[in-house]
Point group: C2
């Protein structure tokens, strides 16, 4: 696997370096404006947009939220979020399998950060590539859902190594799957002993209060910091 692999790795390093420089600029903007920012990642269809809808519902009266939606194509997700009356911008990557810092940077002028406490960046559905691209966020949040199986942490370790939070979604489907909660938690904690884990169901609402409490705390810390 010599030639091609080496070429790819070299290029990837250059791209990552350029990305990290721009991510740092994004981070300065978020910090200056005291906007707590998360980078929300998962496989396609784990429930990222549903989590956003539920979270907005629970805290929109307390916190001023804004959203950046990343997708290869369509404005479906942004349209779902727009219904809640909060600022949302859709980035279409047109084939690229992840957001990068420059894509995010190019839409930041759309927001009035003086009037935003929490920015959620919903990445492209992909458990691999988005993990490597810093967007300038305060925390990476990875979501898995029970029908995907309990082997995701061990099979996609980079994502779980980099994430501060693991959300296990669709626990309402547990009775219909052979998902072992203790297995994925053990694997995730082996990879990343500091990772915080919550079990949730965006369908029934179960477990979301704990997640929202944590989110509220992070926003307050950022405002105080």
């Amino acid at each position: 696997m010599g030639g091609i692999k080496l070429t790819k790795i070299k290029v990837f390093t250059n791209i990552l370096q350029a990305n990290d420089n721009i991510a740092q600029k994004n981070r300065e903007i978020f910090d200056k404006n005291k906007v707590y920012t998360i980078n929300l990642m998962s496989s396609p269809g784990s429930g990222k947009t549903s989590l956003l809808e539920r979270t907005i519902d629970l805290i929109k009266n307390e916190l001023r939220i804004a959203v950046i939606e990343g997708d290869l194509q369509t404005t479906n997700d942004a349209e779902r979020i727009e219904k809640y009356g909060i600022p949302v911008v859709q980035i279409n990557t047109e084939g690229a399998c992840h957001l990068d810092a420059n894509m995010v940077n190019s839409v930041l002028e759309s927001f009035n950060f003086k009037a935003i406490d929490l920015l959620v960046i919903e990445n492209v559905g992909n458990l691999v590539c988005p993990a490597s691209f810093d967007l300038g966020e305060d925390d990476k949040v990875v979501m898995v859902s029970t029908p995907e199986g309990d082997d995701k942490a061990i099979k996609y370790p980079v994502m779980f190594y980099r994430a501060g939070v693991l959300l296990i979604n669709k626990i309402d489907l547990l009775p219909y799957t052979n998902f072992d909660r203790s297995k994925i938690k053990k694997d995730a904690l082996n990879i990343n002993p500091g990772i915080k884990i919550w079990e949730i169901s965006c369908r029934t609402g179960e477990g979301l209060e704990a997640w929202v409490d944590w989110l509220r705390e992070q926003v307050e810390k950022k405002l105080a910091g």
Copy 2:
């Protein structure tokens, strides 16, 4: 999004060209030996390995099957397949989000193709990147599962444009999701009017006979061709 994006696109084209040249070599090996080959792709956890287990169970007495397993890390999937007593090789991409033709080429010498009718290459779980990398296969097969949602075709169109077959898995979970079968079928057929679609459940076995019948037909065509 100027500099970075252009650099990436340029590099990507070079890599794809190099990949396609090697894919052609793989294809010649498969053709010469009359081995019908599929490239099986989906999000993480849609059920690719479960499909393989079910398929092997149904046709191992008629067809000689071999498997290449692609994963970032672990030999979990290869171990699941090895139990069936068929030839299997695991490729660990160590971070790369898809198999490429060179990775596949580098393991082909492990197989005795004179004694193989059907080769299944299970790609890394990812609905984006694997679609762009020809491995030399006869057909690309994409799988989605009902808990992922019915918007996958419209949100990840490249994969559905390139695939010859769409398998809709986990239809046993339909009662617990809001998955609209007619929506994803309509979207997939809009993107790719020739795509063949089957609904299956690797858990209950529902729908698998039709899939296996089709597979048997393809193997027979390849042997006759």
